[in-house]
């Protein structure tokens, strides 16, 4: 992609900017690698994911301790130190030193290296979303890898196919879903979701539900920080900002519990009802569907690094990530369904008009 050449130049600047350092990485706040030059044996993707998680959580810590907005984090360890700096343009910068480099010197070197990068590539970083520069996006993090989908799912139509299917679905439910009898074996996913939310979520296996519940305790401490970040981003976004203007604090009150509910382990009727309610609220507030889609995409981006950083076993982390991505799609589909019903009404009116 167009980012590749730019990334090469970035990496060169990084390496030259401070040879005294053991390693450096420039990453997005979501934990994706932009450019990294790390000591041998360090996994770039994992290192950046955990660095971003440390940065996000440290920001929450600084706020909680009334220390103001985060400036830097120092990790002092037996064999060396790491310093994490927040750059402009949503960039996070991490610099490593050996045990021999004095802390004061590390701070100066790290700040200088970040300055060099920003002064030489600031325009580039400002001009394009950082994501466009991301080095080969971590596959497990962005999409459900086929391997992780497992044979648990009868039909692995987990992500993309689902949403359009749901919104085009011509038979979206009797107004009161409860009366519907159990669908025959192997019902179409959309049918089950639209008509009868009781049977457990066909897109989520029992293992999915269990693993999501099992990481709840690890994720919960991040939720306030994630919600803050979510609304920070939305407020700054010119198209989405106006919809939340002046009521961010109020929205956070419902958003945090919603994020928490994703790890409840119980995604039955009550969960489905709640998603439909959220959809209804969005429709009533005249919030365009793209807002929901963009929000969900953002969550798909920011959750995987958080999960990767707090679930120690990589296989478990991958399974949990895949389960969460499926759950987000399910939730989005239920929310979108309310928009589908609006469109359906419009469509029916339009069809009856020329005929009658």
């Amino acid at each position: 992609m167009s980012g590749t050449g730019d990334r090469g130049a970035l990496l060169n600047t990084l390496k030259k900017s401070s040879p005294e350092l053991d390693g450096m990485a420039l990453l997005t706040r979501e934990g994706l690698v932009v450019a990294a030059s790390l000591p041998p044996g360090c996994d770039e993707a994992r290192s950046c994911a955990v660095t971003a998680a440390v940065e996000a959580l440290s920001d929450a810590m600084a706020k909680e301790a009334r220390c103001g907005a985060l400036e830097q984090v120092l990790i002092r360890s037996h064999d060396g130190n790491a310093v994490v700096l927040r750059g402009r343009e949503g960039a996070v910068f991490c610099a490593l030193s050996g045990r021999s480099m004095q802390l004061g010197l590390l701070f100066i070197n790290a700040a200088r290296a970040l300055d060099t990068v920003l002064s030489q590539h600031g325009n580039l970083l400002a001009a394009m979303p950082l994501e466009a520069l991301v080095a080969e996006p971590e596959p497990a993090a962005l999409e459900v890898p086929p391997a992780a989908a497992e044979p648990v799912l009868p039909e692995p139509d987990t992500l993309q196919p689902a949403a359009p299917e749901a919104s085009v679905e011509p038979e979206p439910a009797a107004p009161e879903p409860a009366a519907e009898p159990a669908p025959e074996p192997g019902p179409a996913v959309a049918e089950v979701l639209v008509a009868k939310p009781e049977p457990l979520v066909p897109v989520l296996s029992v293992a999915d539900q269990e693993i999501l519940a099992s990481i709840r305790d690890y994720i919960t401490p991040y939720i306030p920080a994630l919600t803050d970040r979510f609304y920070e981003v939305i407020e700054e976004e010119p198209q989405m900002g106006p919809y939340v203007k002046g009521r961010v604090e109020a929205l956070k009150v419902t958003h945090s519990p919603w994020l928490t509910s994703l790890f409840s382990g119980d995604y039955g009727a009550e969960f489905a009802r709640r998603q439909a309610e959220i959809g209804q609220a969005h429709v009533r507030a005249n919030i365009p569907p793209v807002f929901v889609a963009a929000s969900m995409s953002f969550l798909r981006l920011i959750f995987p690094p958080v999960i990767a950083s707090c679930v120690v076993d990589p296989e478990q982390a991958e399974a949990a990530t895949a389960a969460l991505l499926r759950l987000l799609s399910y939730s989005q589909r239920l929310i979108d369904d309310k928009y589908a019903q609006v469109l359906e009404r419009v469509d029916q009116t339009r069809q009856t008009r020329p005929g009658g």
Partner: protein
């Protein structure tokens, strides 16, 4: 009274310098053991985040081959938060304003951590 002694160690730490504003001792699973926090700080939330930051810092240190984690220093616009292990199961969290001399903060916090380690042993 071990509790009172731990509390005394925290108060000694915060009284040792005008720039050290608060301190808390938190268990590794995120529960408060003792605290000398400033008014308005939420003990439970501080404790939860402290434990989470420390375990992530640990993980980061491993990923980046820096060896065993010793301390995490978080610097915000208005102050610092220093986290360090104290004994096997507790984390000492020291909160200081921006005027604090970092060298002094490290020394004072280390001394308190040692005292508390001995009390918990």
């Amino acid at each position: 009274m071990r509790e009172a002694e731990i509390q005394t160690a925290l108060v000694t730490l915060t009284n040792g310098s005008v720039d050290i504003e608060a301190a808390a001792l938190v268990s590794r699973d995120g529960l408060i053991i003792a605290s000398a926090l400033a008014a308005g700080m939420d003990e439970a939330r501080v404790a939860a985040i402290v434990a989470a930051v420390l375990s992530l810092g640990d993980r980061m240190s491993t990923e980046l081959s820096r060896g065993q984690l010793e301390q995490v220093l978080i610097t915000g616009k208005a102050g610092h938060v220093l986290l360090q292990q104290s004994g096997n199961h507790a984390v000492l969290c020291t909160i200081a304003n921006k005027a604090v001399k970092l060298g002094l903060l490290f020394m004072d916090a280390n001394r308190a951590a040692e005292t508390i380690t001995a009390l918990l042993a």
